[in-house]
């Protein structure tokens, strides 16, 4: 009997099943929103919101980082007259499609940018939602957190606005992370007022200096707000803000133009807002470096890196740096002839020897001692059995490339890597071996974001030097000056505008800022001067200001957006495609379509994912 009751008790206990606590499991190495409801938690979320300034969010599929790079190299530069996609035809075809005007809503790049920016916005909203529940913060701290979060939210929306125009504004009121329908808003309303409101709120509160340089100051907010107003052609409003920045006395142009493009001079006197990059900081793949540009380095040649040959400056951009005898840009005729380049010239060209009979098409290198710079010259034989001195024999030889010849704006050789010119401290650019497929992408290399050889090991990621800590200066004092010049032209104060432009040119003209050869001589024939004649024609003045912006900010991802806001994208780009198509066959026949291509299409998958009750809430942009 006793035995039986034991068995029965055992059976009952076994058969009663498990209690609910057996089924309670908790995620590991993760926190709930409640656990973050304190000063430390909300500040961590705010850092998380900053973390997307560099563009890198949660990886989803390949190629993400290039789609959201903070410098907008694809959308601002490759999609303009500044740069080619570069490398070879088959690599990253979505960029080729953008470059060639085949702009479609299913291009993964657009969704990538959209993803990065809205992720940043969601993170700012996470901060703003959590903040009221946090008790261990002073009012001042609270106000500061709100201001920084709103600055970031304004910035991310601004990026979307200039890309896509018709986008929804997501704030902490509508956003609900527990309801994924909450952000399915329409995109028909103009969000400029909301962007301005966020930036204005930041401007009103933020201090003029921040203890941590990565945080925006009052002037960073002012500059971003002014930029937003320029996009809306609100010139008087922008002028007030921009002049306030100038009058603050806090900023000045760095003595050397190139100090805006090297890691060792990050956050310098000219910098107003910078995207902070860091390496060897615990991110396993160097993701906090300038990963968006990781493809944009010379391809081979035993020099800088071995990959990937993207983002090659266009011939048109290079030509823009030609100057006249007075050192002024050739505003109208700059593109009528090409600056001589080494297209089709192998890096290893043998020196000319009178003892050799050269066959047709053979190339030789010769040093012309008569030239001031003792230039390296490459000649191509025009006939068989040629052995005359190429320099003197114009019948049998044709000049293919000369190292330094024409008058040039010195900023060219900080913007573009080209043969014969020192490539930072990597030695002289050797030409074709730095380029992956010269026949396809032309002879040039990008330069501004590239690290110095002396940075390798300290400011570069240990596993891959292409990830470096050379910050992207999204807004610097030179922007403020040239925007002011724009504003003054629009407001009819042409001479003020000339003054601002000349400030920029004066800095560029400082010889200590020129690219130098190893022997200390100038690497090319740099001739740059200021506009000395009075500006009387508003159209000419405007062209000069806009041209100056191109020269100063080339290859920095602004160009297409500037062309659109200046309303000259149509003429400029269609002229570009017409001429450049004769040099790069894939640009032949490309068209910028007015009332369509001013903005990129809303990513089709996002329209599909915006459905509420089977109806998409997002509307495609016109003519896509």
């Amino acid at each position: 009997m006793k035995k039986n009751s034991i068995i029965i008790t055992l059976l009952i206990s076994v058969f009663c099943g498990c209690s609910d606590s057996f089924l309670d499991v908790k995620p590991k190495a993760a926190l709930s929103s409640t656990a973050l409801q304190n000063a430390k938690g909300v500040n961590s979320l705010l850092i998380g919101a900053y973390a997307l300034l560099d563009g890198w969010a949660t990886p989803e599929g390949a190629y993400r980082s290039y789609q959201v790079g903070a410098d907008n190299w694809v959308y601002g530069s490759v999609a303009s007259d500044d740069a080619y996609k570069g490398t070879i035809a088959g690599d990253q075809p979505p960029i080729s499609l953008i470059e060639q005007g085949n702009i479609a809503s299913d291009n993964v790049y657009f969704r990538g940018k959209w993803r990065g920016m809205y992720d940043g916005i969601a993170r700012t909203n996470d901060v703003l939602q959590l903040l009221p529940k946090v008790t261990d913060l002073s009012d001042a701290e609270r106000t500061q957190i709100v201001a920084e979060a709103r600055f970031l939210r304004g910035h991310y929306h601004f990026e979307l606005k200039k890309m896509f125009n018709n986008v929804p504004y997501i704030d902490e009121v509508v956003y609900d992370p527990n309801n994924l329908e909450s952000t399915k808003l329409t995109n028909t309303a103009d969000i400029w007022p909301m962007i301005e409101a966020d930036l204005k709120a930041a401007y009103d509160v933020l201090p003029v200096k921040q203890a941590q340089v990565g945080r925006p100051t009052k002037w960073a907010a002012a500059a971003t707000l002014a930029k937003a107003q320029l996009f809306q052609k609100k010139y008087p409003e922008a002028k007030v803000l921009l002049e306030a920045i100038v009058n603050s006395g806090q900023y000045k142009l760095a003595d050397k133009y190139h100090d805006n493009f090297r890691a060792s001079t990050n956050n310098n006197i000219e910098s107003i807002f910078e995207i902070q990059y860091s390496v060897n900081d615990g991110a396993s793949g160097g993701e906090n470096g300038n990963i968006g540009s990781t493809l944009n380095y010379p391809y081979g040649g035993g020099g800088v890196t071995t990959c990937c040959g993207f983002f090659q400056p266009s011939q048109n951009l290079v030509n823009a740096f030609k100057t006249d005898a007075a050192g002024l840009p050739l505003l109208d005729s700059f593109n009528s002839t090409d600056l001589l380049n080494d297209q089709g010239v192998e890096s290893s060209v043998a020196a000319w020897s009178a003892a050799t009979a050269y066959k047709k098409d053979a190339m030789v290198l010769i040093v012309d001692a008569a030239k001031t710079n003792k230039e390296n010259l490459v000649y191509q034989a025009l006939a068989d059995n040629t052995n005359a001195n190429p320099v003197t024999d114009a019948v049998n030889w044709k000049l293919k490339w000369a190292e330094a010849d024409e008058n040039l704006d010195p900023r060219l050789d900080w913007t573009v890597g080209r043969r014969g010119i020192p490539y930072l401290d990597w030695g002289v650019h050797p030409g074709k071996v730095y380029v992956r497929d010269q026949a396809y992408g032309g002879p040039y290399s990008p330069k501004k974001h590239v690290m110095y050889r002396s940075d390798v090991g300290t400011n570069t990621f240990a596993g891959n030097p292409r990830l470096n800590a050379n910050n992207y200066r999204i807004i610097r004092y030179s922007h403020v000056l040239l925007w002011l010049a724009e504003v003054e032209v629009r407001l009819g104060n042409l001479e003020n505008a000339r003054g601002y432009v000349n400030q920029i040119r004066a800095r560029a003209a400082k010889p200590e800022g020129f690219v130098k050869n190893a022997d200390g001589t100038d690497a090319a024939n740099y001739i740059i001067g200021q506009y000395t004649a009075t500006w009387t024609d508003p159209a000419v003045a405007l062209k000069a200001v806009q041209f100056e912006e191109r020269l100063e900010f080339g290859m920095e991802g602004h160009r297409r957006f500037d062309l659109v806001r200046w309303d000259i994208a149509n003429t400029t780009l269609n002229n570009y495609y017409l001429v450049e198509g004769t040099k790069r066959s894939y640009l032949k026949g490309v068209l910028f379509v007015t009332n369509k291509h001013e903005y990129f299409p809303i990513p089709i998958q996002e329209i599909l994912n915006s459905q509420v009750n089977g109806q998409a809430t997002l509307k495609q942009n016109p003519n896509y």
């Binding site: 993760a30 890096s347 066959s585 894939y586």
Partner: protein
């Protein structure tokens, strides 16, 4: 691990000693003296009525059977047979009946009839051995089964050497689709009756009562006694929430009472690559490059293309050296000293003079390297299994050790496995039984770097690297590569594989259960079983710099990963059987089960190792960046279930099951779900009206079943919104230090507290028939499976930010199909020749019947390829349909092109020699005369019309012949490899098709557009990539020979069987890729939305084997 082994061997010792002790006792009892000493004094009084009965018990092969129970019926008087199968029993009289019983044999009752010597031959219990199948939580007689259950015995499973039990199922069971990665130790896909959900479609495996969904590579296939596939819900519903994709029940070999049997089974063979791709040689490659560049106008000032290797002439010139680029013999850069050494050779790629005055000097391979031939080679495979089994009525054992070693046909890939299994069973007394089944496995695998179907794996590099590149540079030691200009960026696949050869994935797995059964009263049995699945994984993945590559790695690095996971499953059941009246038979089963799982992972990495020496490849050997990660997860499941079977006169059969599951994966309010099923069978051959059919109909049973099952594969914390920190995504250098970042937090997962169970409702109608006295067997099933509340991570609008999106209950999906299997058993030549012919046929039609409710909703399967998404899941189409443009030939003339719709996908598309894209639709759903993204549509399907398997087995005297073929008909493959080999994408090698079948003026039968190096439109996903994926493959041809008994018994052996075998001897297919057996791209869960895409898959090997089976 070791401490587990010891108890097992103790158990073995115990059981064999018991046998020994008994034998001894029996022996001594024969000694009259000791018998007198030990006997009851009363019994030796001279009672004339007392008799002694003795005899010998043998098995069906006339071998003595030890351990047989001999009992005088109706008493407790009895004994067991000794090691010679002999018994002796002293009885009061000679009038009783003796009962001879032995596990696995039919019990016999024999009247003594005044005999003193009774020899008996016991016959195997046919019902027990062949007719009982293991179904949920118990066994069932096959004739009582009413659901759709397929059974495979170990002979069938072992017919094809394979590493994985899933792989062994291929083609054997109607309705089961099997795919595998082909690389040794690679992943396997098993799909039962189509694709029931758009997330994870793997079945549940229940091995000796222990469920697992994990990797099965560490389990030894040779230990399996039988496998049952529970295909429909009426059979599988007892496993409830995890049975939505069917259940595979695996039973491992148990010992049988009898004298110890030792077995040795082995095979050894070679595997050889089959068809590879037709790619260009060096001359052809240069020719194609020139033509494509000229057509694109990518030419220099002299009108010719410029190429660092091939020059700048009207025709390309193959150089003598590729690094330095384009160098010819005599060039001072490639000067050799008196000893033939290259004076400018240097492997120091970081040197300042590298690529200026020093090079990794590499000759051109002027004829062309056949890279696929370089990486695919003949490779050995072998398997050795030693087993011992035996025991008696009270204790039985089966132990085995196994060694399996498969080298891959891809060089330096391999899989090795060592397993030890010990299964034991004990009868403690008449009512209590104990037992355990345990396996310890250790495996080592070297896979291909970057995994299967990846653009950066060796298979892909073998077609992505130019033929001019040699395997080695002039040093003969260092690899040749793409360092020279214009060689593109492929890595040397031989180099990649060589450098990866010591990166071994090591796994230890402990899998098994212990159980106890108590017969509480007659026919009422309680069972408890505790199972454990414990897994340890270690992988040190060391990456050596590929100095010869165009995009060489900046440094060497090491990542070490250590994972462990345990799952325990404890179930308790009560079963009761009842028979009464006129043929009423009931079986009841009730049970509870709880499962708990915990997984923990840790990985760390470092860079910059001073030496690549294998002894230095540990984390502490690195001097560079250190990172580490760790995490864990857990889940639990609690369930109660019940089952009732009713049989009336063995003619009318009913079965009902019910199960309630509660899972930690759902929020408390949706945690619980009930799954039920019912089925009925009607043995119509037993009806009186069928009596007249008995000449041809031996037995026929009609089955009807309905039931529900579920799916809970939604990750472990789906209900919760989670925040986490990660240096990659949430750190920021707010202080501008350049080398440090401040930690931040981010929302990493959106929670969905409202998710509830996905339910699959299935209906099955089946017929089992045996015709012509067992000559013909037929099993036919028609089914429909409807999945509702389908769980899917619905893409969230990115306006909510980026985080893991939760599974939500959406839509529904339907599979309908037919499974048919047929068997014919024949005899000829006066029964000396016996043969069986078996075939199975299955077909399913999959349709996503609803997604979000909007037919336009599209879920894309692949979003990381170089061309846009080409696999889509959409309402009214099968899961994972192909998506792209339709190509209707090639424009032959500019006029024809001009008349066609404007192509806005690219400029200059409407001209002779370009693809003619079809104007499928405009923005309003009708053709609009413009080719743009509106013309993307569903263009094909990876799902076959049907699949089939054919099995022929012939036995003649001592010879046997087995043929097994398997095929798939009517599916399409998206041959993504063509992106690389057929279009001007990267600068890798191209197909001969691209050179010879591209359009040229007048070439009207061209399949590819005109060679144009800048053409970026023709590569868009289109019908061009689609190919017919049908194939028939001779999976197995085997000839066996059983050595004559007379010969082997002299050697002291029981049976000796030798065989020769060929696997995958031939394949009939039109598919142009290496292998038409293309299934998933990746064999981890959640990949069923990208079926049938060939991204450079590892091809199946042809195998030639010899094998031996011994027993004694």
């Amino acid at each position: 691990m070791l401490f587990r082994v010891i108890p097992m061997s103790i158990m073995l010792c115990l059981s064999s000693e018991m046998t020994f002790a008994k034998t001894k006792w029996e022996d001594t009892s024969e000694d009259p003296l000791s018998a007198a000493e030990t006997s009851d004094p009363v019994s030796i009084t001279d009672d004339p009525a007392e008799i002694i009965v003795s005899g010998k018990i043998t098995d069906e092969n006339a071998q003595p059977l030890p351990g047989v129970n001999v009992l005088l019926k109706g008493t407790t008087i009895g004994t067991t047979t000794d090691s010679n199968g002999e018994y002796k029993l002293t009885l009061a009289d000679a009038n009783g009946t003796l009962t001879f019983s032995f596990i696995g044999y039919t019990t016999q009752e024999v009247a003594i009839d005044n005999r003193s010597k009774i020899d008996i031959s016991l016959n195997p219990d046919v019902v027990a051995l062949t007719e009982v199948v293991v179904t949920g939580y118990g066994t069932q007689s096959k004739r009582d089964i009413t659901g759709a259950v397929a059974s495979i015995d170990n002979k069938q499973l072992l017919a094809n050497p394979s590493a994985n039990l899933g792989q062994a199922l291929q083609g054997k069971v109607a309705g089961v689709t099997v795919g595998n990665e082909n690389s040794p130790g690679g992943g396997v896909m098993v799909r039962i009756r189509g694709f029931g959900t758009i997330n994870d479609n793997s079945p549940l495996y229940v091995i000796d009562g222990v469920p697992t969904k994990g990797n099965l590579n560490t389990l030894n296939l040779n230990d399996i006694e039988s496998m049952q596939v529970l295909k429909d819900a009426s059979a599988a519903s007892i496993y409830g929430s995890r049975a939505g994709n069917g259940v595979v029940i695996v039973t491992t070999k148990k010992g049988k009472a009898g004298k110890p049997i030792f077995t040795y089974d082995m095979y050894y063979g070679t595997q050889r690559p089959g068809k590879l791709l037709d790619l260009l040689n060096t001359d052809e490659y240069a020719q194609l490059t020139w033509e494509a560049r000229k057509n694109a106008g990518a030419v220099g000032s002299n009108g010719n293309p410029t190429h660092a290797q091939f020059g700048n002439g009207a025709t390309p010139v193959i150089p003598d050296y590729i690094f330095p680029a384009g160098a010819m013999e005599g060039d001072p850069r490639v000067a050799q000293d008196a000893n033939g050494n290259y004076v400018n050779y240097s492997a120091n790629i970081d040197g300042a003079d590298f690529n200026k005055t020093k090079w990794l000097i590499t000759k051109a391979n002027k004829t062309g390297t056949k890279w696929l031939d370089e990486i695919f080679n003949a490779a050995p495979i072998q398997n050795h299994q030693i087993g011992a089994s035996g025991g008696n009525e009270n204790g039985r054992y089966a132990v085995s050790v196994n060694y399996f070693d498969q080298k891959g046909i891809m060089i330096y890939t391999n899989f090795k496995r060592y397993t030890l299994r010990a299964n034991t069973q004990f009868n403690i007394n008449k009512r209590v039984r104990l037992g355990e089944n345990f396996q310890i496995g250790y495996s080592e695998r070297v896979g291909q770097p970057n995994g299967n179907s990846n653009e950066s794996n060796p298979t892909s590099f073998a077609f992505r690297i130019q033929p001019i590149v040699p395997v080695y540079d002039v040093s003969g030691v260092n690899f040749g590569g793409t360092r020279g200009t214009d060689l593109d960026n492929s890595r040397n696949p031989v180099g990649d594989l060589y450098r990866n050869k010591d990166n071994i994935q090591k796994e230890v797995r402990l899998f098994g259960n212990a159980y106890a059964e108590v017969d509480i009263i007659d026919n009422l049995t309680a069972k408890t079983s505790f199972g454990i699945d414990y897994n340890i994984y270690n992988f040190r993945n060391y990456t050596i710099r590929d100095i010869e590559s165009a995009e060489a790695r900046g440094s060497n690095s090491l990542q070490t990963t250590n994972n462990f996971e345990w799952t325990w499953t404890w179930y308790n059941t009560l079963s009761y059987s009842l028979e009464f009246g006129d043929g009423h038979r009931f079986n009841f089963l009730a049970g509870v089960e709880s499962i708990k799982d915990y997984f923990e992972t840790f990985d760390a990495s470092r860079t910059n190792f001073s030496s690549d020496d294998i002894e230095n490849r540990y984390l502490s050997g690195g001097t560079g960046v250190q990172t580490n990660n760790g995490g864990a997860s857990n889940w639990a499941l609690a369930s109660e279930f019940g089952k009732v079977n009713y049989s009336l006169k063995d003619k009318y059969l009913l079965e009902g099951t019910i199960r309630r599951d509660r899972s930690s994966r759902f929020s408390p309010q949706f945690r619980s779900a009930v799954f039920s099923a019912a089925s009925a069978g009607w043995v119509l051959s037993e009806e009186s009206f069928a009596a007249g059919w008995s000449t041809w109909l031996t037995r026929a049973k009609l089955r009807v079943g309905w039931g529900q099952t579920g799916n809970q594969e939604i990750g472990n914390y789906n209900a919760l919104t989670i925040y986490a920190t990660n240096p990659i995504t949430s750190f920021y250098d707010i202080s501008g230090t350049r080398t440090s970042a401040v930690p931040g937090y981010e929302l990493t997962q959106f929670g969905n507290a409202k998710a509830k169970w996905e339910t699959t409702t299935s209906t099955n109608i089946g017929l089992d028939a045996t015709l012509l006295d067992g000559k013909i067997d037929v099993a036919l099933d028609w089914y429909t499976r409807v999945t509702s509340d389908m769980l899917f991570p619905v893409p969230a609008p990115l306006t909510s930010g980026v985080a893991t999106v939760p599974f939500q209950n959406i839509g529904s999906m339907r599979n309908r199909g037919i499974d048919l299997s047929l068997g014919y058993n024949g005899q000829a030549l006066g029964n000396e020749l016996t043969y069986t012919i078996g075939g199975n046929f299955s077909t399913y039609r999959n349709e996503v019947t609803k997604t979000t409710g909007n037919p336009a909703t599209q879920y894309f399967g692949i979003n990381d390829e170089r061309i846009q998404n080409f696999v889509v899941t959409q309402q009214n189409y099968p899961i994972s349909s192909f998506f792209g443009y339709k190509v209707d030939g090639i424009f032959q003339t500019d006029d024809e092109a001009a008349a066609a719709p404007v192509n806005n996908l690219g400029t200059n598309q409407n001209k002779a020699g370009r693809f003619h894209f079809v104007d499928v639709s405009g923005p309003n759903g009708v053709p609009d005369g413009v080719i743009n993204t509106n013309d993307l549509s569903i263009i094909g399907s990876p799902h076959p019309d049907f699949t089939y398997g054919i099995n022929v087995s012939v036995n003649y005297k001592s010879f046997g012949l087995t043929l097994f073929g398997q095929g798939v008909q009517g599916n399409q493959i998206f041959n993504y490899v063509k992106y690389w080999t057929d279009f001007p994408t990267f600068g890798g090698n191209r197909s001969t098709r691209m050179l010879y079948d591209s359009w040229r003026p007048g070439k009207t039968d061209a399949v590819l557009p005109q060679l144009t190096s800048s053409d970026q439109v023709s590569i868009l996903p289109s019908t061009y990539y689609l190919e017919n994926g049908s194939y028939f493959r001779m999976k197995n041809i085997q000839i066996t020979y059983n050595l004559p008994k007379q010969l082997i018994s002299k050697m002291g052996l029981g049976t000796v069987r030798v065989y020769v075998q060929s696997q995958n001897l031939f394949t009939i297919t039109k598919y142009s890729g290496m292998d038409p057996e293309i299934n998933l791209r990746s064999y981890t869960s959640g990949n069923d939305r990208q079926i049938g895409v060939d991204g450079g898959a590892y091809p199946a090997a042809k195998q030639y084997l010899v094998g031996l089976n011994l027993s004694f």
